[in-house]
Structure formats: structure tokens, C-alpha cells
């Protein structure tokens, strides 16, 4: 299925939105931790627009800047057998091009 064309600069998510991290393995300087790919969380806050680090790392301008979000994940959903509290979370900064609606 073709992904619909979207304006990369437009902020697509709001705090409280459920989002899924893309399960992808592109080469290069990626700031999306491996352990969170494919997981679903909730947008905690919108951080603003930031040049894409995957481009900046190769001395390119990283523009247009990408919306960056802090996304909150439940630890028990991220780690099988997580031994802490049921409401424990891990909050991670993730750029918009790594997120889909969930």
C-alpha cells in the first residue's frame, strides 16, 4: 500500500494521541532506539521543530525541520517480564517521520 503524501513539516500528532514507532532498519545515524521500534505509546508533548539528525550527521542541512515528540511507553509493554510497577514508563524523543497513528 502506498503511504499517502504528507507535508513533513506539518505537525500530525497532539499530546494524548496514540502512535506506533515504525519498525524499520535504515542505515546511518538514527536517533530512534532499536528497542522501541514497533511499539505503541502516547504523545506526552510536542517538543518543536528540529532539523533531521539523520541528515545533519552527513553535513546536510536536515531541512525541512521535523516535528519532534516525547512519546510515553508502558514499560510492561516494551519489556516482556518487566519486574517493576504496572504504571512505570519510558519516555523517548522521536521524530515525526518515525511515527504512525495507532
Amino acid at each position: 500500500m502506498k503511504r499517502p503524501r504528507i507535508d513533513p513539516m506539518a505537525q500530525r500528532f497532539q499530546p494524548g494521541d496514540s502512535v506506533r514507532v515504525r519498525r524499520a532498519d535504515p542505515p546511518g545515524h538514527v536517533r530512534t532506539p532499536w528497542y522501541i521500534r514497533g511499539h505503541t505509546g502516547v504523545v506526552e508533548r510536542v517538543c518543536g521543530l528540529y532539523p533531521n539528525p539523520e541528515e545533519l550527521a552527513y553535513a546536510r542541512p536536515g531541512l525541512p525541520a521535523q516535528p519532534l515528540y516525547r512519546v510515553r511507553f508502558l514499560q510492561r509493554q516494551v519489556w516482556p517480564g518487566y519486574s517493576g510497577g504496572a504504571r512505570d514508563t519510558v519516555d523517548i524523543e522521536i521524530y515525526q517521520h518515525w511515527l504512525d497513528s495507532a
Binding site: R31, P33, C47, L68, G84, R87, D88, E93
Partner: protein, 221 residues
């Protein structure tokens, strides 16, 4: 081991082994840039001196002021960088997110925050200075997300099950400061005295400030 005329004791070996690959590269690039006039040796020295002068005392000043002034705390949580500037600190090159440890309030569970950078060693250096070595270790970076309560226990911090533990993985353009809870028994303390309780580890979240009440001697004013 060698003999001195006035004393005799073992010395550790000198720590001046050959440069590593990256150390040699740093020296080579630095010397070339100085030779080309991009900057001077004195400017490099000053920059290193400035870096080394940044200490957790800056962060502790922020925390103590937030404890003393609830309206400042609200501004700090809303916009960390502007709140730094407000008390005369550098607003810094990154957006500062301040996360507050909160006590249990009616139906709200208590919250404890801890910071890690699983990808490298992101840290609010302009505010806290250089990160501790363990912060950069693979063990801390991998285990703090996977089994944070076990890691905190190794640091001597046992969190009750009802405390919600939030791990913040500093992966991108934000930098984080934990605002610890103000210990009880510190009413009427000066900001200087409050700040003395706020250590680096409290602002990373692997410890909490403690009020040592046995020490009855007056400190500061």
C-alpha cells in the same frame, strides 16, 4: 619502585602510555587548526577551563530556587531555558526539560524520574558539567531502561512498588534535569543550605536528597 634520599615507597606507574588513535587525531587536528589560524592555543585552553568550571552546583541552585519559590518552579517546568536565564545562568544550547519528582497527592501516585541516554551520553553539560563515567557506560545505558529498579537499588535507592517510575531516554534534542522533592524538615532553610543537599546524582535521578537532621550545627545563613 625506587629509592629517595628522604623516603622510600612504591609509586604507581606513570600514566603516559602511547596515545590512542582518537587522542592522536585530536592533537593533530587541533595543531593544524591552530597553525592555520582558525583559533589560538589560548582559546582552546580557555574553552577547556570554561568546560571544567561547570559543575552540578549550577543545577543545585536552580533546584533550591524552585523549592523556595513555587511560582519559579511553575515557570521552570513550563520553560526550563528561560527559567535558567531568569536566575543569571546560561540558557544553554539545548532545550531543557525539567521533570519533577512528586509525592502522593489524593488519587495521584508518587512519581520518580531518572535520566539515561541509551544511544550515547546526552547530558545537560552546560548546567551540570561533565557526566559521571558510569552515565556513559554500556551497563547503565542498557540496564536503566530494561531493569531500572534493579539499577536504582544498586545505587542504594529502593523505590516502593506504588511509586511510578519514569525513565527518560534522552535520545535527541532535549536535555533533562530531575527536580527532586524537597525533603521534609527543611522549612525556613536558606537557598544556599537547600542547594547543598542537591547533588549531581539527585538531578540525574539515581538518588534523592536527604536532610541530615543529626547535624545540628548551623550551616550558612
Amino acid at each position: 619502585m625506587h629509592a629517595h634520599p628522604d623516603h622510600d615507597h612504591p609509586h604507581p606507574p606513570d600514566d603516559d602510555d602511547a596515545l590512542t588513535y582518537y587522542q592522536a587525531m585530536e592533537v593533530a587536528v587541533r595543531e593544524l587548526l591552530i597553525e592555520k589560524g582558525v583559533f589560538t592555543a589560548d582559546e582552546v585552553r580557555r574553552q577547556v577551563e570554561d568546560m571544567d568550571s561547570r559543575t552540578p552546583a549550577r543545577g543545585a541552585k536552580v533546584v533550591a530556587h524552585a523549592w523556595a519559590d513555587p511560582t519559579y518552579k511553575a515557570r521552570l517546568l513550563a520553560d526550563g531555558n528561560s527559567a535558567l536565564e531568569e536566575i543569571g545562568l546560561d540558557r544553554g544550547p539545548y532545550k531543557l526539560v525539567v521533570v519533577e519528582n512528586t509525592p502522593a497527592v489524593s488519587d495521584q501516585a508518587p512519581v520518580h524520574n531518572v535520566i539515561v541516554c541509551t544511544l550515547c551520553s546526552c547530558y545537560p553539560r552546560w548546567l551540570l558539567g561533565l557526566p559521571p563515567d558510569w552515565y556513559k557506560s554500556r551497563a547503565y545505558r542498557s540496564r536503566m531502561v530494561r531493569e531500572p529498579r534493579a539499577v536504582l537499588r544498586e545505587f542504594g535507592l529502593e523505590l516502593p512498588e506504588e511509586v511510578v517510575l519514569r525513565v527518560h531516554d534522552s535520545t535527541a534534542d532535549m536535555r533533562y534535569l530531575v527536580l527532586p522533592g524537597r525533603p521534609s524538615g527543611t522549612g525556613g532553610w536558606s537557598e544556599e543550605r537547600l542547594a547543598a543537599m542537591v547533588t549531581r546524582d539527585c538531578m540525574i535521578g539515581v538518588a534523592v536528597p536527604t536532610c541530615v537532621t543529626q547535624d545540628a550545627s548551623p550551616r550558612g545563613t
